[in-house]
């Protein structure tokens, strides 16, 4: 089996909210075009870590990181890196669907428009192809000029994924993307994640063990700001090394 190159790496990463030490010496390397799941009890730092990967916490007063995060070998916290450029490379999908109060079309092409792309044909084609990738095209092709807020929650979340894909990132971060959705929408998004990993590196935070088991290749278990265990999902779920992991996976705590 050939080893894929590492897409994202954290080295001796520490993160602080003011005086609070939220991430403690994290070392992890994530493979390209694979799905990595972050699991762990509430408050253990999953979202914090995920948000350091596209520097989403930059504007939080008092937030600070030490150590390195490498994207394709480059340190993303380096002074030469422009955060807006970084986020075009590392897209994000949030827990609650957050479409802009604009039309479906405007939502999908938002990322392209802010890059200065105005050509109507280019935008329309990009919108269609992104919406097809998220299996939303058939559902919304007649509603492109309607408000995105009129879509169902599951459709809104797939729209948000389409919006993220439209700017062709290489990494997509998802923070509990299905926790606000019904089982059918959840299943659709899981299927979608499975498809997307052919083209994208995906990191997903989830509280749902079955979901982690179904969609991910690797799983990282966090506890109180520490990375306790990181392994192939199959290995982790069948024979976890640490007792904490075992307890968490089997639902004995958290």
């Amino acid at each position: 089996m050939s080893k894929k190159p590492y897409k994202l790496e954290a080295r001796n990463l520490n993160a602080y909210y003011g005086g609070f030490h939220a991430l403690k010496d994290i070392n992890i390397a994530m493979e390209e075009k694979a799905v990595t799941a972050f699991i762990g009890p509430s408050g253990c730092g999953k979202s914090t870590f995920l948000r350091t990967l596209n520097r989403m916490n930059d504007y939080i007063d008092g937030f600070r990181v030490e150590g390195d995060i490498l994207l394709d070998g480059r340190d993303i916290y380096n002074k030469d890196i422009r955060v807006d450029e970084l986020r075009k490379e590392v897209g994000m999908v949030f827990q609650k669907p957050n479409p802009f109060p604009k039309t479906v079309f405007e939502n999908v092409v938002y990322g392209l428009k802010i890059q200065g792309i105005k050509d109507k044909k280019v935008l329309a084609e990009a919108a269609e192809s992104s919406l097809r990738k998220t299996a939303l095209w058939e559902e919304v092709k007649d509603k492109m000029d309607k408000s995105a807020l009129a879509l169902s929650g599951g459709q809104q979340q797939r729209l948000c994924i389409a919006r993220a894909l439209a700017i062709s990132p290489s990494v997509v971060l998802m923070d509990e993307p299905t926790s606000a959705l019904d089982p059918i929408s959840t299943a659709k998004i899981e299927e979608l994640i499975y498809e997307l990993k052919n083209d994208y590196t995906i990191v997903i935070v989830t509280h749902n063990m079955q979901q982690a088991g179904r969609v991910s290749d690797q799983t990282a278990f966090f506890y109180m700001g520490e990375l306790v265990e990181y392994a192939k999902t199959k290995t982790m779920f069948t024979s976890p090394k640490h007792e904490r992991t075992q307890n968490y996976i089997t639902g004995r705590f958290g």
């Binding site: 007063d61 986020r87 897209g91 949030f94 957050n98 802009f100 109060p101 938002y110 990322g111």
Partner: protein, 291 residues
């Protein structure tokens, strides 16, 4: 205990009733006096005559010059206050560190608490001479400096209400834009301002209403010459200035000349009443968006 509560309840009721009576009283006086006025001067003349000379031998009762003076000074004020106020609001909201924001916001409010008479003299004795150095044909009294200074006065109104509106935009929208690689500038203008547009609109309307009703600054710095013009360099008179002029002058009470101030007053009242209701309506209509 029960008696005490009764008394407090009674006092509260009383103050509410007094407020209502005073309001009704004011409107009644305005209406009845202006009805008498309009029995002597036709509404058509009032609305279409291009001259306002009630105090001269050849009397004309056209409100248009006063309305024009009011709108001109207001327009100048808003074109100063809106860009600056909105820029401050966006800066405070998306760029300034929290500590800085906490100190600068109250400091801005100070601008609004300076007595307007001070602003008036500032316009007359500082701004006008300064502007005259590069606009030589600027008259000593003019709507330009009065409007600019009035604009400075209402900056905090726009910046503070707009900042509130922008802060009320859900964090998830802001993060959504950042997450797509939008810069802070793109996020502010492409996502936050449109999402907060109803609140920003309300702040503008309230600022307009404030400018329309402003008296001291224009009375001191804009002159007292009713003139139907859009030229900001010459003296004009606003509705409020005219009312002050007649109230303080030696026009006999009960005369037609005296009643002109009620006709002017009701015109002003209609303007501000309409503006305040518009802002109330907008607020009501768009409130649900985020709750």
């Amino acid at each position: 205990m029960r008696v005490q509560e009764r008394i407090i309840e009674g006092l509260l009721w009383l103050s509410a009733v007094i407020t209502i009576f005073v309001t009704v009283g004011i409107i009644w006086v305005l209406l009845s006096e202006s009805l008498t006025f309009f029995s002597e001067v036709s509404v058509l003349d009032f609305l279409t005559d291009k001259q306002w000379t009630p105090l001269f031998a050849e009397k004309h009762f056209g409100i248009l010059p006063l309305v024009a003076g009011t709108l001109l000074t207001t327009a100048i004020a808003i074109s100063v206050a809106l860009p600056i106020g909105l820029t401050i609001a966006i800066y405070l909201n998306t760029y300034a560190p929290a500590g800085f924001r906490a100190t600068i916001k109250p400091m801005l409010e100070i601008l609004a608490s300076i007595p307007t008479v001070v602003y008036g003299f500032f316009a007359l004795t500082v701004v006008t001479p300064f502007l005259q150095t590069f606009i030589p044909n600027l008259a000593g009294f003019n709507s330009l400096s009065a409007g600019i200074v009035m604009g400075i006065m209402i900056i905090p109104m726009i910046s503070s209400l707009s900042e509130d509106a922008i802060s009320a935009v859900p964090k998830s929208l802001r993060e959504g834009a950042y997450g797509m690689g939008a810069t802070r500038f793109q996020t502010a203008f492409g996502v936050l301002v449109p999402a907060a547009s109803s609140g920003i609109l309300v702040s503008i309307i309230l600022a307009i209403s404030r400018a329309v009703g402003e008296t001291m600054i224009v009375a001191i710095a804009a002159g007292q010459q009713p003139r139907l013009t859009a030229n900001p360099l010459v003296p004009v008179e606003t509705i409020t200035t005219y009312i002050v002029q007649v109230s303080l002058g030696d026009v006999p009470h009960g005369s037609l000349e005296y009643r002109t101030i009620f006709a002017a007053g009701i015109t002003l009242f209609i303007f501000t009443f309409a503006l305040n209701n518009l802002s109330f309506w907008i607020r009501k209509k768009y409130q649900e968006k985020y709750d």
